[in-house]
């Protein structure tokens, strides 16, 4: 039984905390004297920290439907709220260090950032297509602004423009798909749509609707062929935002992808513990192919990149491909593998971008060639970068390897051997371009021998990201348990 609006509020504290922080930021912006003061950053940290704490304290079992069935409060949503809040905290740390952003208006930046966070909270919990669409736009629109935040710089403006155009197209296609679903079933509630579709026989419109909705989600997670925007946006956006887009909205995109397809086009099978397709739309094959193509395109195109942000953009496309492997299996273990992978991916990918920021602060360059000799110029940053890159490759004893093991394991367990083989070969390909950065850092002599100082605070943040990357590669039992418990999605 869904809770009413007022009764829901007490289960909505993390979102309220973020909203309150946004409003406070607006006030600071209006009354604040200096546009560059650190106050907005600290205020945002406090707000997101509070939201994270409230999320952690939120009892997720048994699941509840809030606001007359608009959003769900279940283990799945709580997991993604915690994940995206954590990513946002790290991104705030990054933004505080970034030289690109230092002379820009601070309060506005954090207002947009926290709005995206609020959108992600709602997106991962939406159980109604109206709510789903609204929260998706709440994630997208501030993201466009953030991508173009370096006003006056051509690349940043180009990034924002491309992002808007692609985003508008994708969301247009998606809402058309959603309207088809509404037309077919007469309801906006995901669970009811699922039940209605299970009875119906309208295969072609249903398939059309599924594909169209997939376009919208595919765009958010940057899956091929909806990935075109991401390299340009990733390259042009301020680096902290690039890092943010590659982790936060991507994770939220995965959350809604899983929730939407599993509740609308599948239903849990009590006997086997797995899901089964409840309608005649066999989307799993479609997504299996999408997964293989996404990882292959991401990895192959990454090989030729010379700009480190572009390279990491393509690499994050490839990682979306890996994660899609867990999505197509219709099993709780597959989803568990995605959740676990998102956790390790958060640390290793944000870590890699953090080093990019530190280096760019000193060299004003994002060219891989300018990383030459980083191993001697900034050993701490270079070694951390190497750890993140090897983790992204999936080499033990780093966490990325364990993440891949779970994804591979599930694919092999379900007998989709071709996909496992494609992914394995992709891992080898990815080594080639990750190792290229490592080669430049450690094997080449520096063009410029001057030392790059890494102050204590960035060092601490790097440790904060590198230590979990190492530890989760050796002992990951607690995290996998959390992931296993968070698979419990509210189905109604």
């Amino acid at each position: 039984m869904p809770l009413g609006n007022l009764a829901s509020l007490s289960h909505f504290l993390p979102e309220l905390a973020v909203t309150a922080t946004i409003l406070l930021l607006v006030v600071t912006h209006v009354v604040g004297k200096s546009r560059q003061s650190a106050a907005p950053a600290l205020l945002s940290l406090a707000g997101v920290g509070a939201a994270l704490l409230l999320t952690a304290l939120q009892p997720s079992a048994p699941g509840k439907l809030l606001f007359e069935g608009m959003v769900a409060l279940d283990g799945f949503a709580v997991f993604f709220k915690a994940l995206t809040a954590l990513a946002t905290i790290v991104v705030i740390f990054m933004s505080m260090e970034s030289a690109e952003l230092a002379d820009r208006s601070q309060a506005e930046y954090y207002i947009f950032l926290l709005s995206v966070l609020l959108g992600m909270f709602l997106l991962s919990a939406s159980t109604d297509i109206v709510m789903l669409y609204l929260s998706l736009e709440l994630v997208s629109i501030p993201s466009y602004l953030l991508a173009g935040y370096l006003k006056g710089e051509g690349k940043s403006t180009e990034a924002a423009t491309k992002y808007v155009v692609f985003g508008a197209t994708a969301s247009g296609v998606m809402i058309y798909g959603l309207s088809l679903l509404f037309g077919l079933t007469g309801t906006t509630h995901l669970g009811e749509i699922g039940r209605a579709l299970a009875l119906g026989k309208a295969t072609t419109p249903m398939f059309l609707a599924a594909v169209m909705v997939a376009v919208g989600f595919g765009y958010k997670i940057a899956a091929v062929p909806f990935h075109m925007w991401s390299p340009d946006v990733y390259e042009g956006a301020p680096t902290p935002i690039t890092a943010f887009l590659s982790v936060g909205p991507k994770a939220a995109g995965f959350a809604i992808l899983v929730r939407f397809f599993y509740t609308v086009f599948a239903s849990p099978d009590a006997a086997s513990g797995a899901w089964k397709l409840s309608s005649s739309v066999d989307w799993t094959v479609l997504f299996a192919v999408l997964s293989a193509v996404t990882m292959s395109v991401g990895n192959l195109v990454a090989i030729n990149q010379t700009n480190v942000k572009r390279l990491l953009a393509y690499s994050s496309i490839a990682h979306a491909g890996y994660m899609l492997m867990g999505f197509v299996l219709l099993t709780p273990d597959g989803i568990k593998a995605i959740l676990f992978y998102l956790v390790v991916y958060l640390f290793m990918n944000l870590g890699a971008f953090y080093v990019v920021i530190l280096v760019a602060n000193a060299t004003r360059s994002e060219d891989i060639a300018d990383y030459s000799g980083l191993g001697t110029r900034a050993p701490f940053a270079a070694v951390s970068f190497a750890i993140f890159l090897f983790a992204l490759t999936g080499i033990p004893p780093f966490s990325g390897f364990i993440g891949k093991v779970y994804l591979f394991a599930e694919v092999i367990n379900r007998g989709v051997y071709w996909l496992a083989l494609v992914a394995a070969i992709n891992s080898v390909v990815s080594l080639y371009y990750y190792a290229r950065i490592i080669k430049v850092m450690f094997l080449e002599d520096p063009k410029d021998k001057s030392e790059i100082a890494v102050p204590a605070f960035p060092r601490a943040v790097l440790c904060l990201l590198a230590v979990p990357t190492l530890v989760l590669g050796v002992y990951w039992e607690p995290v996998i348990r959390v992931a296993a418990n968070s698979v419990k999605m509210l189905v109604f």
Binding site: I395, P397, A409, A424, S427, F442, L443
Partner: protein, 509 residues
């Protein structure tokens, strides 16, 4: 001794890592201290290996029976998917553990003159030793895989940073080749995991000894076509490491570019992991496929022997010649194993041990002359015998050991391989025997061009081999000679297990 004895394999594995961690924590500029700590950390495993050897009960086989393994350490690691920390030793792994302890220590001593970023170098070298020990000690497939991959990182950097002119190319080539092999292995591991059950608990398991019990394989895994595919997946992973033709092309590059001590480790220990993996994992898990695949394996072995030797003969770079001679010698291991006879199996294992020592000598010796002359062109020397007699003596010992002269361990190993495999594959062995002649030819020819004939006046003042270098070479030379005359201590160490391995494989025929 209680704690040491009950954790001896872990200590051998992780003491070097601890040493590496200490080195990383030292402040800059303590180069000598770094070297001393590295030497101490890599020395520790030697007395432990000796302890291992003397405490080892040679009458029990191991191979696929858990309670026949010795020095076992068995703990739960990740209970939710049954990953275990499971280490133990039997006659297959014993010689390799001893060899790893010895060669790693000598490699540290052999690196004494390196001054470029010595901290990083020694830390990586010690990490490498941990990886190698771990591979030879693990009985849990997941653990094995982690150690197997952990070796790649230090190796990549050791070749890539401290290597020769084409180090970057060589390092990434090595890395890509081995990673390709290991991801295939990972897929096979996962396929095994999901299609077997632990008979004790009923859950899935990574314990490789359980995989060897054929009754725990499910219907899918009993399908012979599937078994062939899985076997080949593992085989390619191991063949790249050995390296078997046609997967060998990374080896000459890696060897030539790697610094001396790293070539020593590469040839002395890393190559053995391929053949060790076949013995430890592939053969007992897939005995039926092993029998089916024996002839192709023998043919691959012979190609390695003959092709490796021919390539070695064609080289003008001394180090490349030695590298190809390894390709040739590893062919003997494969030939002996493929015969699936007691003599062949023991010969193969003894060849792994013996070649580990001989090839280490050869690479050390190449390093000695390269440090002085700064080139390794075989035709660029001439008449060195008169200038550096002691060095020449050691080269002669190593070359004769390598070409299989009776009295050295290499002869015993190759003779056993031939005795073991001749009754099984007559034609193949006859072809292989012709390889021996080529092996002898290129060794003697190189010896003649470098040390005999008129003296190249450029090298009239060549410095004689120094005490530190002799310290690295002498133990290897003495052991090669000793085990050539009296191979029984090593043969006894491994034969019970290897005979059992032959039985395990043959059981299904």
């Amino acid at each position: 001794m209680g704690f040491i004895d009950s954790h001896i394999l872990s200590l051998m594995t992780f003491l070097p890592l601890a040493g590496g961690a200490v080195i990383l924590c030292l402040p800059k500029g303590n180069d000598n201290l770094v070297k001393i700590i590295a030497a101490v950390a890599s020395f520790f495993p030697i007395p432990l290996a000796a302890r291992l050897w003397f405490a080892f009960d040679q009458t029990v086989g191991g191979v696929n029976v858990a309670n026949q393994f010795q020095f076992v350490e068995h703990y739960s690691w990740i209970p939710s998917i049954n990953v275990e920390y499971f280490m133990g030793a039997d006659g297959i792994s014993m010689p390799m553990l001893v060899l790893t302890a010895l060669i790693s220590f000598l490699a540290v001593i052999g690196s004494w003159e390196i001054n470029k970023q010595i901290k990083g170098y020694m830390a990586l070298l010690l990490l490498l030793e941990t990886g190698m020990m771990g591979v030879f000690a693990s009985l849990d497939f997941f653990l094995f895989y982690v150690f197997w991959e952990v070796m790649l990182l230090p190796m990549y950097f050791l070749i890539g940073i401290w290597g020769g002119p084409r180090k970057e190319y060589a390092a990434i080539k090595f890395f890509l080749y081995t990673l390709l092999g290991s991801v295939l292995m990972l897929l096979v591991i996962l396929a095994l995991y999901f299609n077997t059950t632990n008979p004790e608990t009923g859950g899935h398991t990574f314990n490789m000894l359980h995989y060897m019990t054929q009754s725990v394989h499910n219907a899918w895994l009993k399908d012979f076509d599937v078994r062939i595919l899985l076997f080949l997946g593992l085989f390619i992973g191991f063949a790249i490491k050995v390296p078997l033709f046609p997967f060998h092309t990374w080896l000459p590059d890696a060897h030539v570019e790697a610094p001396t001590a790293i070539s020593v480790i590469l040839a002395g220990i890393l190559l053995k992991m391929g053949t060790y993996g076949l013995m430890r994992i592939s053969f007992p898990i897939f005995p039926d496929v092993t029998v089916w695949f024996a002839v192709p394996m023998a043919i691959l072995g012979v190609i390695n022997i003959v092709y490796g030797a021919l390539c070695a003969m064609a080289q003008s770079d001394l180090k490349k010649m030695v590298a190809y001679s390894s390709v040739s010698h590893m062919g003997f291991c494969l030939l002996g194993m493929a015969a699936l006879t007691p003599a062949g199996m023991v010969g193969a294992s003894f060849q792994m041990f013996s070649h580990g020592m001989i090839t280490s000598m050869l690479f050390f010796l190449v390093g000695v002359v390269y440090d002085r002359a700064h080139h390794r062109d075989i035709d660029g020397f001439g008449g060195l015998g008169a200038v550096v007699p002691v060095y020449t003596f050691f080269v002669a010992v190593a070359f004769f050991a390598s070409l299989g002269l009776p009295g050295f361990s290499g002869f015993v190993a190759e003779a056993m391989v031939f005795i073991g495999s001749f009754p099984v594959f007559r034609t193949i062995v006859i072809v292989a025997a012709s390889g021996i002649i080529i092996v002898a030819a290129f060794h003697l020819w190189a010896l003649q061009r470098v040390f005999l004939g008129p003296l190249n006046p450029k090298y009239a003042q060549l410095e004689e081999i120094n005490a530190r270098e002799i310290f690295c070479l002498a133990p290897l030379a003495l052991l090669t000679l000793y085990f050539g005359v009296n191979p029984m201590p090593v043969l006894n160490l491994m034969s019970t297990s290897l005979l059992k391995l032959v039985d395990v494989v043959k059981m299904v025929i």
